[in-house]
């Protein structure tokens, strides 16, 4: 009986809940895996550089301060000022975007959301996949579309790096001989229409660095909490030994 009840309690369906609805990647069956490693400081630095150059013009990271980022990623303050702050902000300021909301609405129809917590809301995998699946779509206002986020208002800002992609055309003739409409994604795959400045592998690496940085941005304390957690566990484990011995000593004379 007791074991049965315990089994029932332990059967609490834990895993299945994982990021449900957040691992859905639009028209893709699932998001691509991405290796997140917050100890890889060069990767975080590269990601930060891409972020301030290519994303911050539209998106804010407005819960984060420049100098905190500098400290955590090992970027000295003068370098920060020279290379990474373009808005005239001070190093202790929040990383706000220079774009005004009203302008953004007028230019892009949708105000770009703040990205500080985007990997915690979506998931690192979602962001990584999203950034790599823009394709040419002449029907959209920006000229771009995205497999992960259909009809997205964001243009492919890194197209010079990645080049231009288009939905992979079915190799066999379209069924019934009817021509397949060009811009509609007929498959889950994109193919290169015009190559960019980087190879696919280089671009993937850059997007991995950027995603890695966005994960850091979502929770800077992550750098500390694993480390401190280990010390707390060691302390508790040692304490447990003594607490147990004390209990055993006292309970010797309970019969």
């Amino acid at each position: 009986m007791r074991t049965l009840l315990l089994l029932v309690l332990m059967g609490l369906p834990l895993g299945g809940h994982a990021a449900e609805g957040h691992n859905e990647c639009g028209q893709l069956a699932k998001c691509d895996p991405v290796k997140i490693d917050l100890r890889d400081q060069p990767s975080l630095q590269r990601g930060a550089r891409t972020f301030v150059n290519y994303c911050l013009p539209c998106h804010g990271a407005s819960y984060m301060r420049y100098n905190r980022m500098g400290q955590d990623l090992g970027i000295p303050e003068d370098l920060l000022k020279e290379d990474m702050i373009f808005t005239g902000d001070k190093v202790g300021d929040l990383m706000k975007t220079a774009m005004r909301k009203e302008d953004a609405k007028e230019w892009l129809k949708t105000a770009p959301p703040d990205l500080t917590l985007v990997t915690r809301w979506r998931s690192p995998e979602w962001v990584y996949t999203y950034l790599r699946n823009f394709y040419r779509d002449d029907k959209s206002a920006s000229g771009w579309n995205n497999l992960v986020f259909p009809n997205v208002a964001m243009p492919h800002v890194l197209y010079e790096w990645q080049g231009e992609l288009r939905p992979a055309q079915p190799t066999a003739q379209a069924q019934d001989g009817k021509p397949v409409e060009k811009t509609a994604p007929t498959s889950e795959r994109l193919e290169v229409a015009k190559p960019g400045a980087k190879t696919a592998a280089e671009f993937d690496r850059d997007m991995r660095d950027l995603t890695n940085f966005l994960v850091y941005l979502g929770e800077p304390a992550k750098l500390d909490r694993y480390r401190i957690g280990v010390y707390v566990l060691i302390f508790l484990a040692v304490f447990l030994v003594f607490a147990y011995l004390l209990k055993k000593e006292y309970w010797k004379d309970v019969h």
Binding site: M1, L14, H22, V232, L233, Y244, K247, V254
Partner: protein, 458 residues
């Protein structure tokens, strides 16, 4: 040495003349006798105390930096996570503590079902416990609005709008709770006041009288035997040991193990894959953007499932026969004319109500009854024995089914209510209520084993 001890004794004497310090210490700790056969399930009372203290302490520090204003709340939480020294730790301890509080309290309540702890003479102790449970739910519900994330917002919106369903007074009541026509700044402000001051005060007072009631009657134990019935010449229970030092040292061991579990979650997996902190709460509240699925945190989902399972089909094909069968059963087994009359009248009223009042209202009613049913357990349980160790197969089966139904309902509450899931939730709902409704019968007819004179141990 001697003079030091002498000084200490003189000071204590001075205090004792003016305040019952030693007396309280002895009455509640060093000469309070608890059964010596407590097992695993008896850790959770002291663990609940530990978590209560932890929530209050971390809550105080959060309050120093949190801003109860719809324009500032979300950012102030992120400020705590980034700019306040150790702020991330304080926040994760508080969010992890909230969920673990419910884990601890659910296990604490489950213990009562295992060992009959709610039975005479502990009915009042149990009732105070159920009130604590309800206060705790209110506390958690209001706390969840404070970060002003999108799920905070929509969760509160949905739950408060339940009151709209109540006939006549509903809409006015919902508006009174919100202080506005929708969840808004006024709501956030009052929830802050209630979460930070009012409900914690109530909780602390309730926990205090919970302990007072406990020490008046003394603890039950895994054998369900009253140790006070067998005392030695000095009037000390033969199977009792002083709470201090025996259970203080034992509870320190239990607390340490609990803190290890706590640390693993708070430091390594504070979101617990969306179970303790939901992904949709990492974007600020947005009236224009409904989350894919609005669902409360896990500890509310069994009750949320019951609410959602009460569709008009359920009322017609589930509740109607249930009421008829229960009424027939009561009329058949109770001979008193008055009882039969009252039963028929209530059943008739319910059936008329099922026909005329919409299912949504019955969902709210059932959710209330799902909680209220706990109050009645001490009187629904008619078994001559308390502990599951000496009960027969009927009670064991009923409790197993109830536990499974509770967990399954909890799981389904986190999922969209489609086809199979919604059918399962309806079955779960019926099992949930049958556990209580049929209790007087299966505990009466169950074949029990003889209870020993003294507690069994080791």
């Amino acid at each position: 040495m001697n003079t030091k001890a002498g000084a200490w004794r003189r000071l204590l004497g001075w205090v004792d003349d003016r305040y019952p310090l030693s007396e309280t210490w002895e009455a509640h700790l060093s000469k309070y006798y608890a059964p010596k056969n407590f097992n695993f399930w008896y850790y959770f009372g002291s663990l609940a105390l530990v978590v209560l203290v932890l929530q209050i302490l971390t809550g105080i520090f959060l309050t120093m930096h949190y801003k109860p204003d719809t324009g500032l709340a979300f950012a102030s939480v992120e400020y705590i996570m980034r700019d306040v020294d150790w702020g991330w730790l304080i926040r994760y301890l508080h969010s992890t503590g909230a969920s673990l509080f419910f884990v601890v309290v659910y296990l604490h309540m489950f213990r009562a079902f295992l060992y009959g702890s709610h039975r005479n003479p502990r009915e009042l102790l149990w009732i105070i416990g159920v009130v604590i449970f309800i206060a705790l739910m209110a506390e958690a519900f209001m706390g969840y609005l404070l970060p002003w994330g999108n799920m905070s917002y929509w969760g509160a919106q949905v739950i408060i709008s339940l009151f709209d369903a109540i006939p006549v007074v509903g809409p006015g009541l919902a508006e009174w709770i919100r202080g506005d026509f929708v969840v808004a700044d006024a709501t956030l402000n009052r929830f802050f006041a209630l979460h930070v001051v009012a409900v914690p005060l109530v909780l602390i007072m309730l926990v205090f009288i919970h302990i007072v009631a406990l020490h008046k009657v003394g603890s039950n134990n895994p054998d369900g035997i009253e140790i006070k019935k067998k005392k030695d010449a000095r009037g000390i229970p033969l199977d009792g040991i002083p709470f201090h030092p025996y259970y203080t040292v034992k509870d320190i061991v239990g607390t340490t193990v609990f803190l290890i579990v706590f640390t693993v979650i708070a430091f390594f997996i504070p979101e617990l894959w969306g179970w303790f902190l939901e992904h949709d709460n990492f974007i600020p509240a947005n009236i224009l953007q409904t989350p894919q699925e609005i669902k409360p945190l896990w500890y509310f989902t069994p009750f949320y499932s019951i609410l959602r399972a009460t569709t008009s089909d359920m009322v017609a094909w589930g509740l109607t026969p249930l009421v008829i069968v229960m009424a027939a059963l009561i009329i058949f087994s109770v001979k008193r004319a008055r009882t039969r009359l009252v039963t028929s009248a209530i059943a008739a009223l319910l059936l008329i109500g099922f026909y005329f009042i919409e299912a949504k209202v019955w969902g709210v009613v059932l959710m209330g009854l799902a909680l209220g049913a706990f109050f009645l357990v001490p009187w629904l349980d008619r078994s001559p024995v308390k502990s599951i160790r000496y009960r027969g197969w009927m009670y064991k089966t009923a409790l197993t089914f109830f536990t499974i139904a509770f967990i399954v309902l909890g799981y389904l509450g986190t999922k969209p209510p489609s086809g199979l899931y919604s059918l399962l939730a309806k079955i779960g709902l019926v099992i949930y209520f049958l556990f209580f409704l049929l209790m007087p019968w299966y505990t009466t007819f169950d074949k029990t084993k003889p209870v020993p004179e003294r507690v069994t141990w080791k």
